[in-house]
């Protein structure tokens, strides 16, 4: 999707504002939101890509103005509604009104350390050999799905060089739609700054690296 979250290269967002000795959380509710996102995610009723899709498809003006933990909160509410875990009425009242649905699991305190330490690796056995190799030039497709993608708009149509083959990874574009993991080869592609930014590039020899799944790329015809 061409979303407002896809910010690379946008203008007019102003200077980077650094808060000195920033606390981990600015208020207790931010702390609770983080915990709830992790705990609710552990039910297994959605995956990481579905949750990213829920956040980035919030109304653009809202996404830009409410701050990150509010984005997480609204994203979580949306996921809970979508998955049928809560109803609109319950969300409004904060009180249980319908029976809970059966969830895949409820994370227990004794399992928290192990769950966080294990994480969720996304590398998978490849079904097919990699189409590209390190050192090869590739062109990014003009790929514009209306649903979730991890292809940032600023590299579309541009030529870069593969600098690393990361292996075969779960493909977010499919995973976010509940179509399974659909693992694809993932490459790190290097783009010259002037290839991406033209006259705007700060320096002729700067480079930008973007991780791209194979379906985003095509060979460069010589």
């Amino acid at each position: 999707m061409n979303g407002v979250h896809d910010m690379g290269g946008m203008s007019c967002h102003g200077p980077v504002e650094v808060e000195e000795n920033e606390p981990i959380f600015h208020s207790d509710w931010e702390r609770r939101v983080l915990g709830l996102v992790l705990a609710a995610g552990a039910t297994g009723q959605w995956n990481l890509d579905i949750s990213r899709y829920a956040r980035e498809s919030l109304p653009p003006s809202q996404y830009l103005s409410i701050g990150y933990y509010r984005i997480w909160l609204l994203g979580l509410e949306k996921l809970l509604l979508q998955s049928g875990m809560i109803s609109e009425e319950e969300l409004a009242s904060g009180r249980m009104e319908v029976k809970p649905i059966e969830v895949n699991r409820v994370l227990q305190a004794a399992d928290v350390d192990a769950a966080l330490a294990a994480g969720s690796p996304v590398t998978r056995e490849p079904a097919l050999p990699a189409q590209f190799a390190s050192g090869q030039s590739v062109r990014v497709k003009n790929y514009q799905p209306t649903t979730h993608t991890r292809l940032p708009a600023y590299i579309r149509g541009h030529i870069g060089k593969i600098v690393r083959v990361h292996g075969c990874h779960v493909f977010p574009d499919s995973h976010a739609l509940g179509l399974g993991e659909d693992p694809r080869w993932l490459y790190c592609v290097r783009f010259d700054a002037d290839e991406l930014w033209g006259e705007r590039a700060e320096s002729a020899n700067g480079a930008i690296h973007v991780d791209c799944w194979e379906p985003y790329l095509q060979p460069v015809n010589s």
């Binding site: 979250h5 690379g8 946008m10 203008s11 967002h13 980077v16 504002e17 650094v18 808060e19 000795n21 981990i24 600015h26 208020s27 702390r31 609770r32 983080l34 915990g35 709830l36 992790l38 705990a39 039910t43 980035e56 701050g67 990150y68 509010r70 909160l73 969300l91 904060g94 009180r95 249980m96 969830v103 994370l107 227990q108 305190a109 399992d111 928290v112 350390d113 769950a115 966080l116 330490a117 294990a118 994480g119 996304v122 590398t123 940032p152 600023y154 690393r164 990361h166 779960v170 993932l186 790190c188 991406l196 930014w197 700060e202 320096s203 700067g206 480079a207 930008i208 690296h209 799944w213």
Partner: protein, 229 residues
């Protein structure tokens, strides 16, 4: 939680007032909304109260830039560890006890005289949690996400960093589940320091690439080990 202190001190930044939401009624409204949601999820049995507290505690105490600083200090001291880190960062970092969520697939980027590396996530907030903790607000903000890829030099200037003429900037946009950690260059005049002292020079920002490590005269190297580790 003061584990994170040394790496969150940024003597080298130009600082701005951070514009948080100062509308207290709005804040209260959000706090109430979060509390209602928490109560609902607990009542419905989807979330266990102790697990929730433990998840939060983990994020506040077990992860953070002090972990990353230990990794960098070891790489500066031990050339075979450094090589392992560059070849297989996930395994090398896990050998020090740092692994898991948002650090499942690590890649370490080595700064050299020729190249300075800098990491961003233009699409959201991807960040290597086990070694750096939760990302600071600026990392998730529109200014950093929009400009790090197109104006990295100017962004670095806002962090008070100016690079030597001829050092290229390599920006890494974390669009996948690969998480990048910058291995900064070891500061000069640190030959006599031990690993614990070296770790005190490693700032969070130097591992994102928006800062450089401190020099030995910028820190109190006799600081107690509890603060350093």
């Amino acid at each position: 939680m003061n584990e994170d202190k040394p790496a969150t001190q940024h003597q080298d930044h130009s600082h701005h007032e951070h514009h948080h939401d100062h509308d207290h009624s709005h804040l209260d409204e959000t706090a109430l909304r979060v509390r209602a949601l928490e109560t609902l999820l607990l009542d419905k049995g989807y979330v266990d109260a102790d697990a929730l507290d433990k998840l939060i505690e983990n994020c506040e105490t077990k992860i953070g830039p002090r972990n990353g600083a230990q990794v960098i200090a070891r790489a500066w001291m031990d050339t075979s560890f450094r090589q392992w880190l560059l070849d297989d960062a996930t395994a090398a970092i896990a050998s020090m006890g740092f692994s898991g969520r948002q650090g499942e697939h690590m890649v370490v980027l080595e700064n050299t005289d020729e190249v300075h590396n800098m990491v961003v996530c233009t699409l959201c907030s991807c960040y290597p949690w086990p070694v750096l903790g939760l990302p600071p607000s600026w990392y998730k903000s529109a200014p950093y996400r929009s400009r790090a890829v197109s104006e990295p030099q100017q962004v670095l200037a806002e962090f008070g960093v100016s690079l030597p003429e001829g050092q290229q900037i390599h920006v890494w946009d974390s669009t996948a589940e690969v998480r990048y950690l910058v291995l900064p260059q070891r500061p000069a005049a640190t030959e006599s320091l031990d690993e614990r002292q070296l770790a005190q020079l490693v700032t969070r920002d130097s591992m994102i690439g928006t800062g450089l490590p401190l020099s030995p005269d910028q820190v109190d190297l006799n600081d107690s080990p509890e603060h350093a580790s």
